[in-house]
Symmetry: C2
Subunit: 167 residues, 2 copies
């Protein structure tokens, strides 16, 4: 029987094994531009890896369960062994993140991000592809553009899928 | 008498001397994640310069005319000689960009960006600090974190200011 994964609110401490939370953190901020702009500084450093550029792309996500009301079925994980990958919402809607310390259904953890929270997945972190809750939601991504294979995929065995019920 | 600057809609061709427009451009897109995500690929490459990281920060902008209805007074320009600087809205509101090929009021050009359009200022491009139209608007910025002076400012002489009337 498929296991239903608890969904935790996204905060920095529990997410730390997987990467950084990119959000307006007053403790890391200061005023610039004559007081007109508050800079929340260096919330993450791009890590595109060796001999590569950090490319800015837009990812337009659609729901994994194709707009149905049923659970979201997590049947695989992927990782980018050569570089980090941030996702920052360009529209203020909650979204979901599934990550794991190893490619194993039992290791999966799920986080619900607010629409003003992005993340940077550290290099090599296992994760599910983008999980949005709206019919469509755009994200800015800053990831490696360079040589080499930067994608590993792991598909779970039949019956090993985990389920998400975002409610 | 101060000159009022015409505001052009932001499109890639007129902005090209200053940098890149970061927007969902179907011609540069392909489907990934089993068809659930459309990737608008490599709309800009981060250029943090030598011996530096590309840091992800949030800039929270407030209006330059402090919420008044009057014109926005452009009295200075700045540039970052060592690295590029993108601004990507994290909320879908129009915003303004003032850029110039030289630090001269007569060279200033103004663009109105939609809320789904970001830009990357190329290294060393003269620009006005962030110009928002909402009481507050957040942007993701990916810029240089490294040694050296990465800020030049040029203040216009009294009476040389240019005005923006965003309407």
């Amino acid at each position: 029987m498929s296991r239903t994964l608890a969904i935790e609110p996204l905060t920095a401490a529990p997410f730390a094994p997987f990467g950084a939370v990119i959000e307006a953190d007053i403790a890391r901020s200061f005023l610039i531009n004559g007081g007109r702009t508050r800079r929340f500084d260096a919330l993450a450093l791009a890590d595109p890896g060796e001999d590569a550029d950090a490319a800015l792309s837009v990812f337009r996500g659609a729901p994994w369960n194709a707009g149905e009301d049923g659970p979201i079925r997590i049947a695989m994980l992927e990782r980018h062994p050569l570089g980090s990958q941030p996702f920052v919402p360009m529209e203020r809607h909650d979204w979901l993140i599934v990550v794991a310390e190893r490619p194993d259904p039992a290791a999966c953890r799920a986080f619900r991000a607010r629409g003003d929270q992005g993340i940077q997945l550290a290099r090599g972190v296992w994760h599910h592809p983008l999980l949005v809750l709206q019919p469509v939601q755009d994200f800015l991504v800053v990831d490696r553009k360079g040589p080499g294979n930067n994608l590993d995929e792991h598909h779970f065995a039949p019956g090993e899928e985990v389920l998400l019920l975002p409610g």
